[in-house]
């Protein structure tokens, strides 16, 4: 079983190799040209350090059973938080602030079993508070999505 450092070092090493052989020539320019000097320099440093990390992890024989990720219930909570934030960020433009914000707050607090009266209160305060602070006081136009006809 690989320990944590071997996995981390391995991922970084693979990334630096992909970067060297694929990303730098395709995304930056031909190897050796002026614009590739710095990316090559940074990539070489990463390659060296990740190789050292792998070498050192093999020399340390303890810590074989270190867990990177938490228990199943902990993992579910994190997955939920990521999914909620992801949905919020990726659908905000099309659906709009006034639908997505209360929805995500209700789902978020509901998942953590917050009392219903607190959910209603916090959702109302945060949704209207952020709107007044950003849209009214600081004049940031928040994305209204489906409700854009009503608000603009």
């Amino acid at each position: 079983m690989m320990n944590k450092d071997t996995k981390v070092g391995g991922i970084l090493l693979i990334f630096s190799l992909i970067n060297f052989f694929l990303l730098i020539p395709l995304q930056i320019g031909p190897l050796g040209s002026a614009q590739t000097i710095f990316p090559l320099f940074a990539n070489t440093l990463l390659l060296l350090v990740s190789s050292l990390l792998i070498w050192r992890s093999f020399s340390l024989k303890e810590k074989l059973n270190e867990k990177i990720f938490p228990s199943r219930s902990g993992f579910n909570k994190i997955l939920f938080a990521i999914v909620i934030t992801g949905i919020y960020a990726f659908t905000m433009e099309s659906v709009g602030y006034f639908i997505m914000t209360p929805l995500c707050l209700i789902l978020g607090m509901g998942y953590f079993k917050v009392l219903k009266r607190y959910i209603v209160l916090v959702t109302l305060i945060v949704t209207s508070g952020v709107y007044f602070l950003f849209e009214v006081a600081m004049r940031y136009p928040l994305p209204m999505g489906m409700l854009s006809g009503i608000f603009y």
């Binding site: 350090v49 902990g74 938080a81 978020g108």
Partner: protein, 511 residues
């Protein structure tokens, strides 16, 4: 130089004392204290989330408010350390050693007052050092050319990576990864796209604020979400009534007690200022070193850990002293030595100012105005700190189950506010996940962020040096300052390796 410095201090006073700045400072300090005392919200996380609120404020007020917020959060963190034995910020963890035992003895008010006085004194000491040394250091820095700057940045990166908590190699790897991620966008000299994959949004590069909020705020929340118990309101922690009767003799801090602790406070403030000015050593290390130093020099070392005022004065003075000292390399060289300094440097950049030796030349009055406002923030902390103690009790009962969903929404809106672009919100989510994974795998988000900020400076310095030398890398080995910097960079890498092998051989001989 002295006459011009005095003139700048004078104009700094004129700039600093406006109603807008004073409101900014009072607001920043208050918000920092309130948010800092909530366990789970760190000082850097608080300022990262505050930055979007300062976009439309003038730069001096905005940065002063953010510095005030950071200072306030450090004190707020010690409040929960003393009353709940749960440090609100990691910096306050040493304060628990003697703060909580004092609270258990019914002297919580005395402990909080000592923490406040020591924090303010430590902070003021380092702010005065910053005020004194900023001009000479910036003057020296102006004489450095691109090769020296390149080596200086490289030295800072290696020292941040190698001195950071955890594995040195992982710290360095995080830093080098940060250098690569910062390349995304247009080439600074040739303006050709790099790592953009044809996306117009990536042409302008990855913006600092979404990355900062993602790594520091969202990443931290995800780590903490793991430990939340569903349906838990955290109220069980404060079942017992917090007794902080300010009229009680036990809770009064006398002038004699402050005098007794003055030497500890100033020694610890010096330790904090020294460590704060060096890259890579944060306030946590300073607090531990100051506590240890106070214990070793105390007449009653046996009382440490059982409720000794010196045990509160030392870490509080040291960790607050780091705040001003951190800004010495940040403002004068453009090199943030710690995570909080990197966040503050980000705030400078977002407000259109690039920290570095030129900042001292271009905006001297504004910088002196900022230093004066930092001193004003300390006085504000002293004034607001005492009434805040009563409010703190209510804040401890804020439940993470309510707080975290709200913070997730604020992170998204804050990232969007950077450029009013939904793409930044998506970048924030991606880096939030990245920050979480970095923490779980032992990589260092602080080193990553500092490298991300320093990457353009390093790239420009290297390429300018190579243009100067017509492509010869020997330019880095023929200039005396460069050679010295290369030497200490190699030493900064070799020293922890030597320590590692020494410890390993010691263990072998023991085992």
């Amino acid at each position: 130089m002295l006459a011009s410095t005095l003139a700048f201090i004078g104009s700094g006073f004129e700039l600093a004392f406006t109603i807008q700045n004073i409101i900014g400072i009072v607001g920043g300090v208050s918000l920092g204290m309130v948010l800092g005392c909530i366990p789970g919200l760190t000082g850097t996380m608080v300022i990262a989330m505050m930055i979007p609120l300062t976009y439309y404020i003038n730069p001096l007020t905005a940065i002063a408010a953010l510095v005030g917020c950071y200072k306030g959060s450090l004190y707020g963190g010690s409040t929960s350390a003393i009353l709940l034995n749960t440090p609100g910020t990691p910096e306050a963890s040493v304060t628990c050693f003697d703060g909580y035992p004092l609270y258990k003895q019914g002297k919580g008010g005395k402990a909080l007052k000592m923490a406040l006085v020591a924090s303010v004194m430590g902070d003021s000491f380092s702010d005065l050092v910053l005020l004194t040394v900023a001009v000479p250091v910036a003057a020296v820095a102006l004489k450095l050319g691109p090769p020296e700057f390149a080596m200086l940045v490289l030295f800072s990166l290696t020292i941040v990576g190698s001195l950071s908590r955890g594995s040195m190699l992982k710290g360095l790897a995080s830093g080098f990864l940060g250098l690569i991620v910062a390349i995304v966008g247009l080439d600074p000299i040739l303006t050709t796209p790099r790592y953009t994959f044809g996306s117009i949004n990536l042409d302008r590069g990855l913006q600092l604020l979404p990355l900062l909020i993602g790594l520091l705020a969202l990443g931290e929340i995800l780590v903490q979400v793991e430990g939340i118990v569903r349906g838990d309101t955290d109220r069980h922690k404060i079942k017992e009534k917090l007794s902080l009767d300010s009229n009680s003799e036990n809770n009064k801090l006398t002038l004699g007690e402050i005098k007794q602790n003055l030497s500890v406070i100033f020694r610890s403030a010096s330790i904090g200022t020294f460590f704060g000015a060096l890259p890579g050593i944060g306030s946590i290390t300073s607090a531990f070193v100051a506590y240890d130093s106070a214990k070793r020099t105390s007449k009653h070392p046996e009382k440490f850990g059982k409720g000794n005022l010196e045990g509160i004065a030392a870490p509080e003075a040291a960790n607050n002293a780091v705040c001003g000292a951190n800004l010495i390399p940040t403002i004068t060289l453009g090199i943030p030595g710690s995570l909080s300094a990197a966040v503050l440097m980000g705030a400078f950049m977002i407000h259109g100012m690039m920290p570095g030796p030129m900042l001292m030349q271009e905006h001297p009055s504004m910088l002196y105005g900022l230093f004066i406002l930092m001193l004003l923030a300390n006085a504000t902390m002293l004034l607001l700190g005492f009434p805040f103690i009563k409010l703190a009790r209510r804040l401890f009962s804020v439940s993470k189950t309510i707080l975290f969903p709200v913070i997730l929404i604020l992170c998204c809106i804050g990232a969007y506010g950077c450029d009013l672009n939904i793409f930044d919100m998506k970048v924030m989510v991606v880096f939030g996940l990245g920050g979480y994974l970095m923490k779980k795998t032992g990589l260092n988000p602080a080193a990553f962020l500092i490298a991300f900020i320093l990457s353009p400076l390093l790239e420009n310095s290297i390429r300018q040096s190579l243009i100067m030398s017509r492509g010869s890398p020997l330019i880095f080995f023929t200039r005396p300052i460069c050679v010295v910097l290369i030497g200490i960079t190699i030493l900064s890498i070799l020293w922890p390796i030597r320590q590692y092998f020494r410890e390993k051989s010691k263990l072998k001989t023991k085992g």
